[in-house]
Amino acid sequence: MAFKIIVCAKQVPDTNVIKINPKTGTLIREGVPSILNHDDANALEEALKIKDKYPDTHITVVSMGPPQAKDMLLECLAMGADEGVLVSDRAVGGSDTWATSNAVAAAIRKIGEFDLIFAGRQAIDGDTAQVGPQIAEKMDLPQVTYVQEFEIEKDMKSITVKRALEDGYEVIKIKTPCMLTAIKELNAPRYMTIGGIFSANEKPIHVWNANDIAIDLDTVGLEASPTNVFRSFTPAPKGKGVILEGDTEKEVAEKLLIGLKGKHVV
């Protein structure tokens, strides 16, 4: 039986070129290209690697966002995914992580059977790392976050992963179906292929509204979101560091002590 993977992906502004309005503290989105979120590309790449090995694997990429997020799904199809799903509705606009995971979980339920959900750790525009784990909780699935190495058994029933910690890693064996979140150390995402680009339009992209995913409107959108942004600001840049030089360690330590004393730190 074909292995079914759902990859959660988000279209985000390219933070390499983004600027922040210093007065309002909000992102300046004009003229900023939208891209496939980096960690999500790692999740998709791992799914594609499974498909390379087991070609009957079916990959559905699911996203939530404005209609133009379809472009990002097309890009995923051009990389090799089989199908795209976009949840797009004004009713889900402004959702925080809780509301977003409600909507995405509902979309996944509508997709139906799956063996694995792979998401990126976090999106570069919000950096919350919450949506993946919340989807898993709401769907009652076992989950492993921060996956840096991945191996699936031949029977496709269990997966062994390395989970990154701040000071090491855990090796965890998990049964399918389950939810994993990828970090950039997991792999190097492939490019689209030229053939993939010219075949992407032949693959289905479903655009679903709130009705289609049968979601309770009290659980999605700005109003339903428990998180509110109180204030956003650009932190003042730190001053330049000082490099102390000297011929001996003792000499440098002496200079350091003088400096610290001068600032009344010690």
Binding site: D71, E75, M192, T193, I194, G195, I197, F198, S199, A200
Partner: protein
């Protein structure tokens, strides 16, 4: 008139830009210095479908269009002119004539391998005494029973040392010359009597393999004739019409690459207390460069679009190549100038780009040949 790229064409640019930035640019200076053919990147280009762009899926291509192909060559050449011409010579000069002139068996046998990049292609027309004067071919092909026997030599053959399949022009009737005396053949690298001669030591595109091809009683089956006996000159000229879009795109890419590097340099470099980018005299140079590049781009995209729509485009691809090649020389020379002394060193890529640019005024028809083609269409033949 619609100057908007399709979603697919935009994706091709995005994909090839990323590929070129991550895979090609980091080794571009080294392979130039070492005169090393980048086999590892040709393999990657094959894997990503970059060696069969403008051919339908039925024959093993990607199903892409001529403009996407032009964009791909442009983006590769933006960081490495050598890599750009490897793709261009393979696609325009070997895949295309088989696609356009080959019979079903030949397409079946060769196109899928070529488009997927399992095999690399080259094209042999030029000889020591037959460059612009293509009718002066001395390579001969004689029918001997069920086999053609080729004798002679070709020079300056792009991809020569690494190609598996060669489209070769040879004289089959000396009296008729270009009027039916030349025929086209498909030669494979392991054919008996065929060998690679001298590898040229060039001024630019140093990572491209440019070699001599030698035919000493090279014997190939009768069915390797491409088109009919006597079609060779037409095969060659129609192939070069399309090849010019590839070389024009290479020239455009080289110009754009030199331009981008120069703009970045000018934003950082300070003299007399201000940045070069703030000096009006230099700004005006940059304005001219930008305008020429954009004009070249429009000529090329127009020619590619006409080819895609099966309109007569020979005049337009000649104009595109003439103008893009001159633009590449103009822009890269200015780029070196705007870098000052640094531009003349190998610490910056613009000197390589200037050396690479020059060939675009020479191969696949010199600028003078382009003018002949354009003038012939203006005045009639």
């Amino acid at each position: 008139m619609n100057f908007q790229l399709t979603k697919e064409q935009e994706f091709v640019r995005k994909m090839v830009r990323e590929f070129a930035t991550n895979e090609v640019e980091p080794i571009a200076a080294d392979i130039d210095a070492e005169h090393r053919f980048p086999e590892e990147n040709v393999k990657k280009m094959a894997d990503y479908g970059l060696l069969g762009i403008p051919f339908p899926k039925e024959v093993g291509g990607t199903g892409g269009d001529q403009l996407s192909y032009a964009i791909a060559v442009e983006e590769l050449s933006r960081v490495c002119g050598s890599t750009g011409v490897i793709c261009s010579a393979h696609t325009s000069l070997c895949c295309w004539p088989i696609y356009a002139w080959g019979n079903d068996e030949q397409k079946e046998k060769y196109l899928s391998d070529l488009c997927s990049g399992r095999k690399l292609g080259a094209f042999g027309l030029t000889e020591p005494n037959a460059g612009t004067d293509a009718g002066g071919q001395q390579t001969r092909a004689d029918l001997n029973g069920d086999q053609w026997v080729l004798n002679g030599a070709k020079v300056f053959i792009t991809n020569g040392g690494y190609a598996d399949v060669f489209i070769i022009m040879a004289m089959t009737d000396k009296k008729k010359k270009t009027r039916g005396g030349i025929s086209a053949f498909i030669v494979e690298k392991d054919d008996p009597g065929f060998s690679i001669g001298k590898t040229e030591d060039k001024m630019g595109i140093c990572a491209s393999s440019t070699t001599e091809l030698i035919f000493q009683n090279c014997t190939i089956p009768k069915d390797r004739l491409l088109g009919q006996v006597g079609d060779g000159f037409k095969v060659a000229m129609s192939t070069l019409d399309g090849g010019r879009i590839g070389i024009a795109s290479q020239a455009l890419g080289i110009a754009q690459g030199a331009f981008d590097v120069t703009v970045d340099y000018m934003k950082a470099r300070k003299q007399f207390g201000k940045k070069l980018s703030q000096m009006e005299a230099l700004q005006f140079e940059v304005a001219n460069m930008a305008t020429q590049i954009e004009a070249a781009r429009l000529l090329i995209y127009q020619a590619a679009d006409m080819k895609e729509r099966n309109l007569p485009y020979g005049k337009y691809s000649a104009m595109a190549k003439l103008f893009a090649a001159e633009t590449a020389m103009y822009v890269t020379t200015k780029a070196v100038q705007l870098h000052g002394g640094y531009g003349y060193t190998k610490d910056y890529p613009v000197e390589r780009m200037m050396r690479d640019a020059k060939i675009t005024e020479i191969y696949e028809g010199t600028s003078e040949v382009q003018k002949m083609v354009i003038a012939a269409s203006v005045f009639g033949k």
